[in-house]
Symmetry: C2
Subunit: 237 residues, 2 copies
DNA sequence: CCGAATCGAGAGCAGTGCTCTCTGTTTGAC
DNA sequence: GTCAAACAGAGAGCACTGCTCTCGATTCGG
């Protein structure tokens, strides 16, 4: 679509778009989800109406930030998993990914709030966001699948849970997409711990741990280890 | 402080305050966290500046709504627990409370977002909110304590986890306040499942389950049952 | 009964998202 | 090269927001 040698205008436009997003991210840190386009425009030394040459509306800017955030946290998880020297221990991989997710969330709290916090009022997430949104959880799916293949994913000790046909089918669909070969029950456990993990991040970032737990890092690590056991992840002999 | 027979003015003022909050709650349903004082005033047929006779600022109104929301969800949990015919089964109590929390959250989604979602930008929670905020979790503490006293709270099968002195002390403090007699490890498990529970609610309410799980009620019930087992809650013989 | 407290109305200020119009520049086809 | 078309930014303006201030009208307590 773009010409081989990007025209000056196209390149300037791309840079300008990035600058707007960068400034918006900065504003996000102080102002939260209701960022001001006019503040962004002031920050960039332009007039507010000029922003509309790059983003059709404030929601469009937010959408761009949301997509970037999903990709960023997804990439953080992926590189944490990929950069392990040995990938044969599912528990170690799980812990590495969990801590990487937390580190990203702490370093980018307002962006985390944007994607995992309460949705902004009138905002409806467009379809462009659903693909990047699944990127982080794909990492967990891979760990589960590898653990299963290596015989390091224990079954539910309490026996097979009973699912309705509907729920079983949905769990099957999730498993087929994220962690082929894994049973519905194991996939359910995976989603439960995934939910717990992000619950822990939200509790920490949204102030629910204030005046309760100060040893945040250790507390998170404890949670991650405990729920790794809950899923049934085991380290090799 | 108020005279025995409330003066007309005092009573009207109380009613007016309630009407403002009620209208604000309605606005919250459509507009999200950035509710408009002017819209509230229009809804009540008054001029915007009149609102300031009742609430010093928009944040003050939000604070009042937050306190009400904490009390409401806390009361929902309390009555769910208290209205059980038999209270000897900790698992049944846990499930009843969990479903009551979910029911309240679904029925009052914007208020749930207000207290458990991303904090509103410039808003700093005043001290008045911390007491009502702990009301829901007190219910879980009671269930844990009763289960422990009745010998229905299993120990961690994986052996005693190791905590640093700091974290152990903090867990001890939480246990002493919420569930006296319960060990630090069990209290930690309780907080983990509490985190999971609200993670599940946030996932469901904030759209993270869209296009993934449609059997919401059953999925939540499954999660609640599984994590009840994780804490170590058992039903009596 | 009367001064004081309270209440609502209205105007106004600074800020917001967004639209429209107008100028100047860059682009790509001829 | 030329030139119409696309594009980028500036500026004014609209309707909205939270909030402050002033000014009458009402109600309160001593």
């Amino acid at each position: 679509m773009a010409p081989r040698a990007a025209s000056i205008r196209a390149r300037v436009r791309a840079e300008m778009t990035d600058e707007i997003k960068a400034s918006a991210r900065r504003q996000l840190a102080t102002g939260g989800a209701n960022l001001s386009l006019r503040a962004v425009s002031r920050d960039l030394g332009m007039v507010s109406s000029a922003i509309y040459r790059y983003f059709a509306s404030r929601d469009d800017l937010l959408t761009a930030l949301i997509i970037d955030a999903y990709n960023a946290i997804g990439e953080a998880a992926e590189t944490a998993d990929a950069s392990l020297t040995t990938r044969s221990d599912p528990v170690a991989r799980w812990l590495a990914v969990a801590h990487a997710l937390r580190a990203w969330a702490l370093a980018h709290a307002p962006e985390y709030a944007l994607i995992y916090g309460s949705p902004v009022p009138g905002y409806a997430a467009p379809a462009d966001t659903i693909s990047p949104a699944s990127r982080p959880i794909l990492v967990m799916g891979l760990i589960l699948a590898d653990a299963h293949a290596a015989g390091l994913l224990s079954d539910d000790p309490a026996g097979r849970p009973e699912f309705s046909a509907d729920l079983r089918a949905e769990l099957r669909q999730v498993a087929d997409r994220l962690a082929p070969g894994v049973s519905e029950a194991a996939m359910a456990r995976g989603m439960i711990v995934w939910t717990q993990l992000f619950g822990a991040l939200s509790f920490e970032l949204f102030g629910q741990l204030n005046n309760v737990i100060d040893a945040r890092e250790e507390w998170f690590d404890h949670q991650a280890r405990m729920i790794a056991g809950f899923v049934g992840l085991r380290s090799p002999e």
